[in-house]
Symmetry: C2
Subunit: 322 residues, 2 copies
Protein backbone atom coordinates (compact mmCIF):
# COMPACT_ATOMS: atom_id res chain seq x y z
CA UNK A 1 0.00 0.00 0.00
CA UNK A 2 2.50 2.55 -1.22
CA UNK A 3 -0.02 5.34 -1.77
CA UNK A 4 -2.58 4.63 0.95
CA UNK A 5 -2.06 6.77 4.00
CA UNK A 6 -2.46 5.64 7.57
CA UNK A 7 -5.98 7.02 7.81
CA UNK A 8 -7.29 6.14 4.36
CA UNK A 9 -10.92 5.09 4.48
CA UNK A 10 -12.70 3.06 1.82
CA UNK A 11 -16.43 2.55 1.44
CA UNK A 12 -17.66 -0.11 -0.92
CA UNK A 13 -21.07 -0.59 -2.48
CA UNK A 14 -21.42 -4.32 -3.00
CA UNK A 15 -23.68 -7.13 -4.06
CA UNK A 16 -22.74 -10.75 -3.43
CA UNK A 17 -19.80 -12.80 -4.60
CA UNK A 18 -17.87 -10.22 -6.68
CA UNK A 19 -18.30 -7.54 -4.06
CA UNK A 20 -17.32 -9.91 -1.29
CA UNK A 21 -14.10 -10.90 -3.05
CA UNK A 22 -12.99 -7.32 -3.59
CA UNK A 23 -13.99 -6.43 -0.04
CA UNK A 24 -11.73 -9.20 1.20
CA UNK A 25 -8.93 -7.69 -0.87
CA UNK A 26 -9.44 -4.30 0.77
CA UNK A 27 -9.76 -5.87 4.20
CA UNK A 28 -6.25 -7.28 3.81
CA UNK A 29 -4.90 -3.83 2.90
CA UNK A 30 -6.59 -1.57 5.42
CA UNK A 31 -6.69 -1.49 9.20
CA UNK A 32 -10.07 -2.69 10.35
CA UNK A 33 -12.23 0.36 10.91
CA UNK A 34 -11.13 1.90 7.62
CA UNK A 35 -13.26 -0.35 5.43
CA UNK A 36 -17.04 -0.11 5.30
CA UNK A 37 -19.09 -2.29 2.98
CA UNK A 38 -22.62 -1.17 2.14
CA UNK A 39 -24.47 -4.23 0.91
CA UNK A 40 -27.50 -4.73 -1.30
CA UNK A 41 -30.51 -6.16 0.53
CA UNK A 42 -33.03 -6.13 -2.31
CA UNK A 43 -32.28 -9.84 -2.93
CA UNK A 44 -33.46 -10.60 0.60
CA UNK A 45 -36.41 -12.93 0.84
CA UNK A 46 -38.24 -15.29 3.14
CA UNK A 47 -38.09 -19.05 2.94
CA UNK A 48 -39.90 -21.23 5.49
CA UNK A 49 -40.55 -17.95 7.29
CA UNK A 50 -36.79 -17.40 7.68
CA UNK A 51 -35.31 -14.05 6.68
CA UNK A 52 -32.52 -14.71 4.21
CA UNK A 53 -30.06 -11.96 3.18
CA UNK A 54 -27.91 -13.59 0.50
CA UNK A 55 -25.58 -10.68 -0.25
CA UNK A 56 -24.99 -9.74 3.38
CA UNK A 57 -24.21 -13.33 4.20
CA UNK A 58 -21.84 -13.73 1.27
CA UNK A 59 -19.92 -10.61 2.30
CA UNK A 60 -19.94 -11.69 5.95
CA UNK A 61 -18.77 -15.24 5.32
CA UNK A 62 -16.09 -14.03 2.91
CA UNK A 63 -14.71 -11.44 5.31
CA UNK A 64 -14.80 -14.02 8.10
CA UNK A 65 -12.71 -16.33 5.93
CA UNK A 66 -15.31 -19.09 6.08
CA UNK A 67 -16.92 -18.72 2.64
CA UNK A 68 -17.07 -21.67 0.32
CA UNK A 69 -14.16 -20.91 -2.03
CA UNK A 70 -15.57 -22.92 -4.94
CA UNK A 71 -19.02 -21.38 -5.20
CA UNK A 72 -18.33 -18.04 -3.51
CA UNK A 73 -21.51 -18.16 -1.40
CA UNK A 74 -22.33 -20.36 1.56
CA UNK A 75 -19.89 -21.66 4.16
CA UNK A 76 -16.88 -23.83 3.38
CA UNK A 77 -17.48 -27.47 4.22
CA UNK A 78 -21.10 -26.87 5.08
CA UNK A 79 -23.45 -29.84 4.95
CA UNK A 80 -27.10 -30.05 3.86
CA UNK A 81 -28.65 -32.26 6.50
CA UNK A 82 -31.29 -29.74 7.48
CA UNK A 83 -32.30 -29.13 3.87
CA UNK A 84 -32.44 -32.87 3.15
CA UNK A 85 -34.67 -33.35 6.18
CA UNK A 86 -36.88 -30.47 5.05
CA UNK A 87 -37.32 -32.23 1.71
CA UNK A 88 -38.11 -35.48 3.52
CA UNK A 89 -40.91 -33.67 5.37
CA UNK A 90 -42.31 -32.34 2.10
CA UNK A 91 -40.78 -28.85 2.23
CA UNK A 92 -39.27 -26.94 -0.68
CA UNK A 93 -35.58 -27.52 -1.23
CA UNK A 94 -34.72 -25.47 -4.32
CA UNK A 95 -32.66 -22.89 -2.43
CA UNK A 96 -29.47 -24.59 -1.32
CA UNK A 97 -29.04 -23.70 2.32
CA UNK A 98 -26.31 -25.36 4.35
CA UNK A 99 -26.65 -26.39 7.98
CA UNK A 100 -24.37 -23.63 9.27
CA UNK A 101 -26.10 -21.16 6.99
CA UNK A 102 -29.45 -22.05 8.59
CA UNK A 103 -28.02 -20.88 11.91
CA UNK A 104 -27.57 -17.39 10.46
CA UNK A 105 -31.12 -17.28 9.15
CA UNK A 106 -32.66 -18.69 12.31
CA UNK A 107 -30.97 -16.18 14.62
CA UNK A 108 -31.50 -13.25 12.25
CA UNK A 109 -35.19 -14.06 11.87
CA UNK A 110 -35.62 -14.38 15.61
CA UNK A 111 -33.99 -11.02 16.29
CA UNK A 112 -35.88 -9.27 13.47
CA UNK A 113 -39.16 -10.58 14.90
CA UNK A 114 -38.16 -9.14 18.25
CA UNK A 115 -37.88 -5.75 16.57
CA UNK A 116 -34.12 -5.44 16.16
CA UNK A 117 -32.75 -3.71 13.07
CA UNK A 118 -31.02 -5.71 10.34
CA UNK A 119 -28.05 -3.34 10.60
CA UNK A 120 -27.60 -4.15 14.28
CA UNK A 121 -27.95 -7.88 13.75
CA UNK A 122 -25.51 -7.77 10.82
CA UNK A 123 -22.96 -5.90 12.92
CA UNK A 124 -23.33 -8.35 15.80
CA UNK A 125 -22.87 -11.37 13.54
CA UNK A 126 -19.78 -9.75 12.00
CA UNK A 127 -18.37 -9.10 15.47
CA UNK A 128 -19.10 -12.67 16.56
CA UNK A 129 -17.18 -13.92 13.52
CA UNK A 130 -14.24 -11.64 14.28
CA UNK A 131 -14.74 -9.34 11.30
CA UNK A 132 -13.17 -5.89 11.69
CA UNK A 133 -14.58 -3.97 8.70
CA UNK A 134 -18.12 -2.61 8.97
CA UNK A 135 -20.75 -4.50 7.02
CA UNK A 136 -23.89 -2.39 6.58
CA UNK A 137 -27.13 -3.31 4.90
CA UNK A 138 -28.15 -0.54 2.51
CA UNK A 139 -31.34 -0.13 4.54
CA UNK A 140 -33.13 -1.62 7.52
CA UNK A 141 -36.45 -1.54 5.69
CA UNK A 142 -37.51 -4.45 3.50
CA UNK A 143 -36.96 -3.98 -0.23
CA UNK A 144 -37.69 -6.71 -2.76
CA UNK A 145 -36.40 -6.84 -6.30
CA UNK A 146 -39.10 -7.96 -8.70
CA UNK A 147 -38.25 -8.90 -12.25
CA UNK A 148 -40.60 -8.36 -15.17
CA UNK A 149 -40.28 -11.14 -17.73
CA UNK A 150 -42.34 -12.49 -20.63
CA UNK A 151 -43.79 -14.89 -18.03
CA UNK A 152 -44.87 -12.00 -15.83
CA UNK A 153 -43.44 -10.47 -12.71
CA UNK A 154 -41.23 -12.78 -10.65
CA UNK A 155 -39.65 -12.55 -7.23
CA UNK A 156 -35.91 -12.21 -7.54
CA UNK A 157 -34.93 -15.58 -6.08
CA UNK A 158 -37.61 -17.25 -8.15
CA UNK A 159 -36.03 -15.74 -11.27
CA UNK A 160 -32.45 -16.12 -10.08
CA UNK A 161 -32.34 -19.51 -8.37
CA UNK A 162 -35.51 -21.47 -9.02
CA UNK A 163 -35.79 -20.56 -12.74
CA UNK A 164 -32.02 -20.26 -13.22
CA UNK A 165 -32.20 -16.84 -14.94
CA UNK A 166 -33.72 -18.33 -18.06
CA UNK A 167 -36.31 -15.56 -18.47
CA UNK A 168 -35.59 -12.36 -20.38
CA UNK A 169 -35.58 -9.43 -17.99
CA UNK A 170 -37.75 -6.68 -19.42
CA UNK A 171 -37.85 -4.51 -16.33
CA UNK A 172 -36.83 -4.40 -12.70
CA UNK A 173 -38.78 -3.01 -9.75
CA UNK A 174 -37.44 -2.46 -6.24
CA UNK A 175 -40.59 -2.98 -4.24
CA UNK A 176 -40.57 -0.93 -1.05
CA UNK A 177 -37.66 1.27 -2.11
CA UNK A 178 -39.74 4.43 -1.63
CA UNK A 179 -39.94 3.70 2.10
CA UNK A 180 -36.31 2.64 2.46
CA UNK A 181 -34.10 4.89 4.54
CA UNK A 182 -30.34 4.38 4.44
CA UNK A 183 -29.23 2.19 7.36
CA UNK A 184 -27.35 3.96 10.16
CA UNK A 185 -23.88 4.91 8.97
CA UNK A 186 -24.46 4.48 5.25
CA UNK A 187 -24.60 8.13 4.23
CA UNK A 188 -21.76 9.04 6.58
CA UNK A 189 -19.65 6.28 5.09
CA UNK A 190 -20.11 7.88 1.67
CA UNK A 191 -19.46 11.40 2.91
CA UNK A 192 -16.23 10.75 4.80
CA UNK A 193 -14.61 8.10 2.58
CA UNK A 194 -11.35 8.81 0.80
CA UNK A 195 -12.35 6.24 -1.76
CA UNK A 196 -15.78 4.93 -2.72
CA UNK A 197 -15.66 1.69 -4.64
CA UNK A 198 -18.58 0.29 -6.57
CA UNK A 199 -17.84 -3.41 -6.61
CA UNK A 200 -17.89 -5.57 -9.75
CA UNK A 201 -21.48 -6.48 -8.94
CA UNK A 202 -24.55 -6.47 -11.17
CA UNK A 203 -25.23 -2.77 -11.95
CA UNK A 204 -28.97 -3.37 -12.29
CA UNK A 205 -29.97 -5.61 -9.40
CA UNK A 206 -27.02 -5.39 -6.98
CA UNK A 207 -25.72 -1.83 -7.18
CA UNK A 208 -28.98 -0.40 -8.56
CA UNK A 209 -30.98 -0.93 -5.36
CA UNK A 210 -28.25 0.64 -3.20
CA UNK A 211 -28.21 3.73 -5.42
CA UNK A 212 -31.99 3.87 -5.29
CA UNK A 213 -32.14 4.15 -1.50
CA UNK A 214 -33.16 7.65 -0.49
CA UNK A 215 -30.14 9.95 -0.30
CA UNK A 216 -27.51 7.48 -1.52
CA UNK A 217 -27.27 8.71 -5.11
CA UNK A 218 -27.02 12.32 -3.89
CA UNK A 219 -24.40 11.42 -1.31
CA UNK A 220 -22.40 9.69 -4.01
CA UNK A 221 -22.77 12.65 -6.37
CA UNK A 222 -21.59 15.04 -3.67
CA UNK A 223 -18.89 12.86 -2.17
CA UNK A 224 -15.45 14.38 -1.80
CA UNK A 225 -13.69 11.04 -2.02
CA UNK A 226 -12.72 9.48 -5.31
CA UNK A 227 -15.43 7.30 -6.77
CA UNK A 228 -14.26 4.20 -8.56
CA UNK A 229 -16.27 1.39 -10.12
CA UNK A 230 -14.94 -1.98 -11.19
CA UNK A 231 -16.67 -3.30 -14.29
CA UNK A 232 -18.44 -6.62 -13.77
CA UNK A 233 -18.51 -7.09 -17.54
CA UNK A 234 -15.30 -8.52 -18.96
CA UNK A 235 -14.94 -9.26 -22.65
CA UNK A 236 -18.66 -8.70 -23.13
CA UNK A 237 -19.66 -11.27 -20.52
CA UNK A 238 -20.59 -11.16 -16.86
CA UNK A 239 -18.04 -12.85 -14.62
CA UNK A 240 -20.92 -14.39 -12.70
CA UNK A 241 -24.68 -14.32 -12.89
CA UNK A 242 -27.02 -12.86 -15.44
CA UNK A 243 -25.75 -9.26 -15.63
CA UNK A 244 -24.80 -9.60 -19.32
CA UNK A 245 -28.17 -10.97 -20.42
CA UNK A 246 -29.97 -8.49 -18.18
CA UNK A 247 -28.09 -5.51 -19.62
CA UNK A 248 -28.90 -6.70 -23.14
CA UNK A 249 -32.64 -7.12 -22.65
CA UNK A 250 -32.82 -3.80 -20.81
CA UNK A 251 -31.21 -2.02 -23.80
CA UNK A 252 -27.71 -1.47 -22.47
CA UNK A 253 -24.53 -2.25 -24.33
CA UNK A 254 -23.08 -5.44 -22.88
CA UNK A 255 -19.56 -4.22 -22.32
CA UNK A 256 -17.44 -2.23 -19.90
CA UNK A 257 -18.51 0.78 -21.95
CA UNK A 258 -22.14 -0.02 -21.26
CA UNK A 259 -21.28 -0.15 -17.56
CA UNK A 260 -19.45 3.18 -17.87
CA UNK A 261 -22.58 4.76 -19.36
CA UNK A 262 -24.71 3.49 -16.48
CA UNK A 263 -22.36 4.99 -13.91
CA UNK A 264 -21.52 8.16 -15.86
CA UNK A 265 -21.75 11.23 -13.63
CA UNK A 266 -21.49 9.09 -10.49
CA UNK A 267 -17.89 7.87 -10.74
CA UNK A 268 -14.48 9.39 -11.39
CA UNK A 269 -12.73 6.25 -12.52
CA UNK A 270 -13.73 2.94 -14.08
CA UNK A 271 -11.58 -0.15 -13.72
CA UNK A 272 -11.83 -2.35 -16.79
CA UNK A 273 -10.15 -5.60 -17.65
CA UNK A 274 -7.06 -5.77 -19.84
CA UNK A 275 -9.09 -7.70 -22.40
CA UNK A 276 -11.24 -4.59 -22.81
CA UNK A 277 -8.29 -2.16 -23.15
CA UNK A 278 -9.55 -0.96 -26.53
CA UNK A 279 -12.64 0.47 -24.83
CA UNK A 280 -10.57 2.81 -22.64
CA UNK A 281 -10.75 5.88 -24.95
CA UNK A 282 -14.52 5.51 -25.27
CA UNK A 283 -14.88 5.30 -21.50
CA UNK A 284 -12.65 8.34 -21.01
CA UNK A 285 -14.81 10.22 -23.49
CA UNK A 286 -17.64 9.90 -20.96
CA UNK A 287 -15.65 12.07 -18.57
CA UNK A 288 -14.06 9.51 -16.31
CA UNK A 289 -10.61 8.06 -15.84
CA UNK A 290 -9.83 4.45 -16.69
CA UNK A 291 -7.64 1.88 -15.02
CA UNK A 292 -6.91 -1.12 -17.23
CA UNK A 293 -5.81 -4.19 -15.32
CA UNK A 294 -6.65 -7.81 -14.63
CA UNK A 295 -10.05 -7.71 -12.90
CA UNK A 296 -10.87 -11.41 -12.74
CA UNK A 297 -10.23 -12.24 -9.10
CA UNK A 298 -8.91 -15.62 -8.06
CA UNK A 299 -7.93 -16.32 -4.45
CA UNK A 300 -7.26 -13.90 -1.59
CA UNK A 301 -3.86 -12.77 -2.90
CA UNK A 302 -5.39 -11.87 -6.23
CA UNK A 303 -8.22 -10.00 -4.50
CA UNK A 304 -5.68 -8.01 -2.51
CA UNK A 305 -3.72 -7.28 -5.68
CA UNK A 306 -6.80 -5.83 -7.40
CA UNK A 307 -7.83 -3.89 -4.28
CA UNK A 308 -4.33 -2.46 -4.05
CA UNK A 309 -4.38 -1.34 -7.67
CA UNK A 310 -7.83 0.21 -7.26
CA UNK A 311 -6.71 1.96 -4.09
CA UNK A 312 -3.55 3.33 -5.65
CA UNK A 313 -5.29 4.46 -8.82
CA UNK A 314 -8.06 6.11 -6.85
CA UNK A 315 -5.74 7.94 -4.48
CA UNK A 316 -3.44 8.96 -7.31
CA UNK A 317 -6.40 10.41 -9.21
CA UNK A 318 -7.38 12.33 -6.11
CA UNK A 319 -3.89 13.77 -5.74
CA UNK A 320 -3.94 14.78 -9.39
CA UNK A 321 -7.31 16.43 -8.90
CA UNK A 322 -6.16 18.27 -5.77
CA UNK B 1 -51.14 -61.37 18.88
CA UNK B 2 -53.12 -64.38 19.92
CA UNK B 3 -55.90 -62.45 21.64
CA UNK B 4 -56.06 -59.30 19.53
CA UNK B 5 -58.82 -59.42 16.97
CA UNK B 6 -58.60 -58.10 13.45
CA UNK B 7 -60.30 -54.85 14.36
CA UNK B 8 -58.73 -54.17 17.76
CA UNK B 9 -58.02 -50.49 18.27
CA UNK B 10 -55.56 -49.07 20.77
CA UNK B 11 -55.27 -45.47 21.91
CA UNK B 12 -52.21 -44.44 23.87
CA UNK B 13 -51.64 -41.40 26.05
CA UNK B 14 -47.94 -40.70 25.83
CA UNK B 15 -45.12 -38.40 26.77
CA UNK B 16 -41.70 -38.70 25.16
CA UNK B 17 -39.21 -41.55 25.17
CA UNK B 18 -41.07 -44.18 27.23
CA UNK B 19 -44.33 -43.54 25.41
CA UNK B 20 -42.61 -43.62 22.05
CA UNK B 21 -40.99 -46.97 22.76
CA UNK B 22 -44.26 -48.62 23.78
CA UNK B 23 -46.03 -47.01 20.83
CA UNK B 24 -43.47 -48.58 18.53
CA UNK B 25 -44.22 -51.94 20.14
CA UNK B 26 -47.94 -51.52 19.44
CA UNK B 27 -47.25 -50.28 15.92
CA UNK B 28 -45.53 -53.58 15.16
CA UNK B 29 -48.55 -55.52 16.45
CA UNK B 30 -51.47 -53.66 14.95
CA UNK B 31 -52.46 -52.77 11.40
CA UNK B 32 -51.82 -49.10 10.84
CA UNK B 33 -55.08 -47.28 11.48
CA UNK B 34 -55.70 -49.21 14.68
CA UNK B 35 -53.15 -47.32 16.76
CA UNK B 36 -53.64 -43.72 17.83
CA UNK B 37 -51.13 -41.95 20.05
CA UNK B 38 -52.29 -38.85 21.92
CA UNK B 39 -49.15 -36.93 22.87
CA UNK B 40 -48.38 -34.40 25.57
CA UNK B 41 -47.66 -30.91 24.24
CA UNK B 42 -47.20 -29.09 27.54
CA UNK B 43 -43.41 -29.47 27.15
CA UNK B 44 -43.59 -27.48 23.92
CA UNK B 45 -41.60 -24.29 23.89
CA UNK B 46 -39.99 -21.74 21.65
CA UNK B 47 -36.28 -21.44 21.00
CA UNK B 48 -34.90 -18.86 18.55
CA UNK B 49 -38.56 -18.28 17.68
CA UNK B 50 -38.91 -21.90 16.56
CA UNK B 51 -41.81 -23.97 17.87
CA UNK B 52 -40.39 -27.12 19.41
CA UNK B 53 -42.62 -30.06 20.40
CA UNK B 54 -40.25 -32.50 22.08
CA UNK B 55 -42.72 -35.28 22.86
CA UNK B 56 -44.45 -35.21 19.48
CA UNK B 57 -41.10 -35.35 17.76
CA UNK B 58 -39.84 -38.22 19.89
CA UNK B 59 -42.96 -40.24 19.12
CA UNK B 60 -42.79 -39.31 15.44
CA UNK B 61 -39.12 -40.13 15.01
CA UNK B 62 -39.51 -43.39 16.92
CA UNK B 63 -42.50 -44.55 14.87
CA UNK B 64 -40.65 -43.54 11.69
CA UNK B 65 -37.75 -45.72 12.77
CA UNK B 66 -35.30 -42.83 12.66
CA UNK B 67 -34.97 -42.06 16.38
CA UNK B 68 -31.56 -42.02 17.98
CA UNK B 69 -31.53 -45.44 19.68
CA UNK B 70 -29.01 -44.46 22.35
CA UNK B 71 -30.71 -41.36 23.74
CA UNK B 72 -34.28 -42.09 22.67
CA UNK B 73 -34.89 -38.54 21.40
CA UNK B 74 -33.53 -36.84 18.32
CA UNK B 75 -32.69 -38.49 15.01
CA UNK B 76 -30.18 -41.30 14.57
CA UNK B 77 -26.90 -40.07 13.15
CA UNK B 78 -27.96 -36.45 13.31
CA UNK B 79 -25.22 -33.85 13.37
CA UNK B 80 -25.04 -30.52 15.22
CA UNK B 81 -23.61 -28.17 12.62
CA UNK B 82 -26.49 -25.71 12.84
CA UNK B 83 -26.30 -25.58 16.62
CA UNK B 84 -22.53 -25.13 16.55
CA UNK B 85 -22.93 -22.26 14.09
CA UNK B 86 -25.62 -20.72 16.30
CA UNK B 87 -23.16 -20.80 19.19
CA UNK B 88 -20.49 -19.23 16.96
CA UNK B 89 -22.89 -16.36 16.27
CA UNK B 90 -23.50 -15.86 19.98
CA UNK B 91 -26.80 -17.75 20.24
CA UNK B 92 -27.86 -20.07 23.04
CA UNK B 93 -26.91 -23.70 22.57
CA UNK B 94 -28.10 -25.44 25.73
CA UNK B 95 -30.90 -27.35 24.00
CA UNK B 96 -29.27 -30.01 21.85
CA UNK B 97 -30.97 -29.77 18.48
CA UNK B 98 -29.63 -31.76 15.55
CA UNK B 99 -29.52 -30.53 11.98
CA UNK B 100 -32.32 -32.81 10.80
CA UNK B 101 -34.30 -31.93 13.90
CA UNK B 102 -34.07 -28.24 12.98
CA UNK B 103 -35.89 -29.07 9.74
CA UNK B 104 -38.89 -30.25 11.75
CA UNK B 105 -38.96 -27.10 13.86
CA UNK B 106 -38.44 -24.74 10.92
CA UNK B 107 -41.29 -26.22 8.87
CA UNK B 108 -43.61 -26.58 11.87
CA UNK B 109 -43.02 -22.98 12.92
CA UNK B 110 -43.61 -21.72 9.40
CA UNK B 111 -46.90 -23.58 9.09
CA UNK B 112 -48.08 -22.58 12.58
CA UNK B 113 -47.40 -18.93 11.73
CA UNK B 114 -49.50 -19.38 8.62
CA UNK B 115 -52.36 -20.43 10.85
CA UNK B 116 -52.29 -24.20 10.42
CA UNK B 117 -53.14 -26.40 13.40
CA UNK B 118 -50.44 -28.40 15.15
CA UNK B 119 -52.57 -31.52 14.71
CA UNK B 120 -52.63 -31.08 10.93
CA UNK B 121 -48.91 -30.38 10.74
CA UNK B 122 -48.14 -33.37 12.96
CA UNK B 123 -50.26 -35.64 10.78
CA UNK B 124 -48.59 -34.36 7.61
CA UNK B 125 -45.11 -34.91 9.01
CA UNK B 126 -46.07 -38.43 10.09
CA UNK B 127 -47.42 -39.15 6.60
CA UNK B 128 -44.28 -37.75 4.98
CA UNK B 129 -42.21 -40.09 7.14
CA UNK B 130 -44.37 -43.07 6.22
CA UNK B 131 -45.94 -43.51 9.65
CA UNK B 132 -49.24 -45.39 9.64
CA UNK B 133 -50.52 -44.90 13.21
CA UNK B 134 -52.16 -41.59 14.08
CA UNK B 135 -50.07 -39.20 16.14
CA UNK B 136 -52.24 -36.54 17.74
CA UNK B 137 -51.19 -33.63 19.92
CA UNK B 138 -53.39 -33.51 23.01
CA UNK B 139 -54.51 -30.02 21.91
CA UNK B 140 -53.91 -27.46 19.19
CA UNK B 141 -53.79 -24.65 21.73
CA UNK B 142 -50.53 -23.72 23.43
CA UNK B 143 -50.07 -25.11 26.94
CA UNK B 144 -46.89 -24.59 28.92
CA UNK B 145 -45.83 -26.57 31.96
CA UNK B 146 -44.37 -24.31 34.62
CA UNK B 147 -42.56 -25.77 37.59
CA UNK B 148 -42.56 -24.17 41.02
CA UNK B 149 -39.23 -24.66 42.76
CA UNK B 150 -37.38 -23.12 45.70
CA UNK B 151 -35.78 -20.86 43.08
CA UNK B 152 -39.17 -19.71 41.85
CA UNK B 153 -41.31 -20.64 38.88
CA UNK B 154 -39.38 -22.07 35.93
CA UNK B 155 -40.31 -22.89 32.36
CA UNK B 156 -40.29 -26.63 31.87
CA UNK B 157 -37.30 -26.85 29.54
CA UNK B 158 -35.38 -24.47 31.76
CA UNK B 159 -35.99 -26.85 34.67
CA UNK B 160 -35.64 -30.02 32.63
CA UNK B 161 -32.75 -29.34 30.25
CA UNK B 162 -30.93 -26.16 31.19
CA UNK B 163 -30.94 -26.80 34.96
CA UNK B 164 -30.85 -30.60 34.61
CA UNK B 165 -33.77 -31.20 37.01
CA UNK B 166 -31.69 -30.20 40.00
CA UNK B 167 -34.48 -28.13 41.59
CA UNK B 168 -37.08 -29.62 43.91
CA UNK B 169 -40.48 -29.49 42.26
CA UNK B 170 -42.96 -28.03 44.72
CA UNK B 171 -45.80 -27.57 42.30
CA UNK B 172 -46.70 -27.81 38.63
CA UNK B 173 -48.90 -25.46 36.60
CA UNK B 174 -50.15 -26.10 33.08
CA UNK B 175 -50.34 -22.56 31.80
CA UNK B 176 -53.09 -22.17 29.21
CA UNK B 177 -54.76 -25.50 30.00
CA UNK B 178 -58.09 -23.77 30.71
CA UNK B 179 -58.29 -22.71 27.06
CA UNK B 180 -57.06 -26.01 25.64
CA UNK B 181 -59.58 -27.99 23.63
CA UNK B 182 -58.77 -31.59 22.72
CA UNK B 183 -57.26 -31.76 19.25
CA UNK B 184 -59.50 -33.23 16.53
CA UNK B 185 -59.87 -36.97 17.03
CA UNK B 186 -58.62 -37.12 20.60
CA UNK B 187 -61.93 -37.66 22.38
CA UNK B 188 -63.15 -40.02 19.67
CA UNK B 189 -59.98 -42.07 20.01
CA UNK B 190 -60.75 -42.53 23.69
CA UNK B 191 -64.41 -43.35 23.11
CA UNK B 192 -63.98 -46.00 20.44
CA UNK B 193 -60.77 -47.70 21.59
CA UNK B 194 -60.79 -51.34 22.66
CA UNK B 195 -57.79 -50.57 24.78
CA UNK B 196 -56.54 -47.29 26.20
CA UNK B 197 -52.94 -47.40 27.31
CA UNK B 198 -51.34 -44.80 29.54
CA UNK B 199 -47.68 -45.06 28.61
CA UNK B 200 -44.86 -45.41 31.14
CA UNK B 201 -44.43 -41.64 31.03
CA UNK B 202 -44.15 -39.13 33.85
CA UNK B 203 -47.60 -39.11 35.55
CA UNK B 204 -47.20 -35.48 36.62
CA UNK B 205 -45.81 -33.60 33.63
CA UNK B 206 -46.37 -35.98 30.69
CA UNK B 207 -49.69 -37.75 31.33
CA UNK B 208 -50.97 -35.08 33.73
CA UNK B 209 -51.38 -32.38 31.04
CA UNK B 210 -53.22 -34.75 28.70
CA UNK B 211 -55.67 -35.67 31.44
CA UNK B 212 -56.12 -31.98 32.24
CA UNK B 213 -57.29 -31.07 28.74
CA UNK B 214 -60.99 -30.32 28.77
CA UNK B 215 -63.04 -33.50 28.37
CA UNK B 216 -60.16 -35.98 28.38
CA UNK B 217 -60.48 -37.13 31.97
CA UNK B 218 -64.24 -37.57 31.54
CA UNK B 219 -63.79 -39.46 28.28
CA UNK B 220 -61.32 -41.75 29.99
CA UNK B 221 -63.65 -42.26 32.95
CA UNK B 222 -66.54 -43.14 30.63
CA UNK B 223 -64.56 -45.17 28.10
CA UNK B 224 -65.91 -48.62 27.28
CA UNK B 225 -62.47 -49.94 26.35
CA UNK B 226 -60.11 -51.40 28.91
CA UNK B 227 -57.85 -48.80 30.48
CA UNK B 228 -54.32 -49.90 31.22
CA UNK B 229 -51.40 -47.92 32.58
CA UNK B 230 -47.77 -49.02 32.57
CA UNK B 231 -45.89 -47.83 35.64
CA UNK B 232 -42.92 -45.58 34.84
CA UNK B 233 -41.58 -46.25 38.34
CA UNK B 234 -39.61 -49.48 38.63
CA UNK B 235 -38.00 -50.53 41.88
CA UNK B 236 -38.73 -47.10 43.32
CA UNK B 237 -36.92 -45.25 40.55
CA UNK B 238 -37.95 -43.58 37.32
CA UNK B 239 -36.67 -45.37 34.24
CA UNK B 240 -35.85 -41.99 32.77
CA UNK B 241 -36.15 -38.38 33.84
CA UNK B 242 -37.14 -36.83 37.13
CA UNK B 243 -40.49 -38.57 37.78
CA UNK B 244 -39.21 -40.20 40.96
CA UNK B 245 -37.87 -37.00 42.52
CA UNK B 246 -40.93 -35.09 41.35
CA UNK B 247 -43.33 -37.60 42.90
CA UNK B 248 -41.41 -37.40 46.18
CA UNK B 249 -41.38 -33.62 46.49
CA UNK B 250 -45.05 -33.48 45.51
CA UNK B 251 -45.94 -35.89 48.35
CA UNK B 252 -46.55 -39.09 46.39
CA UNK B 253 -45.11 -42.47 47.23
CA UNK B 254 -42.26 -43.14 44.83
CA UNK B 255 -43.31 -46.61 43.73
CA UNK B 256 -45.65 -48.41 41.36
CA UNK B 257 -48.17 -48.19 44.19
CA UNK B 258 -47.82 -44.42 44.21
CA UNK B 259 -48.51 -44.46 40.48
CA UNK B 260 -51.52 -46.70 41.06
CA UNK B 261 -52.92 -44.21 43.55
CA UNK B 262 -52.54 -41.36 41.04
CA UNK B 263 -54.43 -43.29 38.38
CA UNK B 264 -56.97 -44.93 40.72
CA UNK B 265 -60.48 -44.61 39.30
CA UNK B 266 -59.15 -43.94 35.80
CA UNK B 267 -57.66 -47.33 34.93
CA UNK B 268 -58.71 -50.95 35.06
CA UNK B 269 -55.26 -52.48 35.04
CA UNK B 270 -51.76 -51.43 36.07
CA UNK B 271 -48.69 -53.04 34.55
CA UNK B 272 -45.85 -53.17 37.07
CA UNK B 273 -42.37 -54.55 36.78
CA UNK B 274 -41.45 -58.00 38.10
CA UNK B 275 -39.13 -56.34 40.58
CA UNK B 276 -42.21 -54.74 42.14
CA UNK B 277 -44.27 -57.96 42.28
CA UNK B 278 -44.71 -57.62 46.04
CA UNK B 279 -46.73 -54.46 45.48
CA UNK B 280 -49.36 -56.29 43.42
CA UNK B 281 -51.80 -57.00 46.29
CA UNK B 282 -51.66 -53.37 47.39
CA UNK B 283 -52.35 -52.19 43.87
CA UNK B 284 -55.25 -54.64 43.53
CA UNK B 285 -56.64 -53.30 46.79
CA UNK B 286 -57.14 -49.98 45.01
CA UNK B 287 -59.69 -51.68 42.73
CA UNK B 288 -57.63 -52.41 39.66
CA UNK B 289 -56.05 -55.46 38.08
CA UNK B 290 -52.31 -55.96 37.95
CA UNK B 291 -50.06 -57.40 35.29
CA UNK B 292 -46.57 -58.20 36.58
CA UNK B 293 -43.96 -58.47 33.86
CA UNK B 294 -40.68 -57.04 32.62
CA UNK B 295 -41.45 -53.39 31.81
CA UNK B 296 -37.97 -52.10 31.06
CA UNK B 297 -37.96 -51.85 27.28
CA UNK B 298 -34.85 -52.48 25.26
CA UNK B 299 -34.95 -52.57 21.48
CA UNK B 300 -37.92 -52.91 19.13
CA UNK B 301 -38.45 -56.63 19.79
CA UNK B 302 -38.66 -55.97 23.51
CA UNK B 303 -41.08 -53.10 22.94
CA UNK B 304 -43.28 -55.38 20.87
CA UNK B 305 -43.10 -58.04 23.58
CA UNK B 306 -44.34 -55.63 26.23
CA UNK B 307 -47.02 -54.21 23.93
CA UNK B 308 -48.20 -57.72 23.18
CA UNK B 309 -48.44 -58.59 26.87
CA UNK B 310 -50.30 -55.36 27.63
CA UNK B 311 -52.66 -56.00 24.73
CA UNK B 312 -53.37 -59.57 25.76
CA UNK B 313 -53.86 -58.70 29.41
CA UNK B 314 -56.14 -55.81 28.55
CA UNK B 315 -58.29 -57.77 26.14
CA UNK B 316 -58.45 -60.75 28.49
CA UNK B 317 -59.63 -58.48 31.30
CA UNK B 318 -62.28 -57.11 29.01
CA UNK B 319 -63.50 -60.58 28.14
CA UNK B 320 -63.62 -61.46 31.81
CA UNK B 321 -65.58 -58.32 32.52
CA UNK B 322 -68.03 -58.98 29.67
Amino acid sequence: MSVAQEGTTVTMLAGGVGGAKLAQGFARLLPDPRLRVVVNTADDFQLYGLAISPDIDTVTYTLAGIANPAQGWGIAGDTRHTLDAIARLGGESWFLLGDQDFATHILRTHRLRQGEALSRITADFAAALGIGPSIMPMTDQPVATLVDTPKGRLGFQDYFVARRQTDDVLGVVFDGIEHAEPAPGVLGALTDADLIVIAPSNPIVSVGPILAVSGVRDALAEATGMRVAVSPIVGGKALKGPADRMLATLGHEVSALGVARIYAGLIDLLVIDSIDAALAPHVEALGMGVLVTGTVMGGPDDRERLASEVLEAGLRSREERA
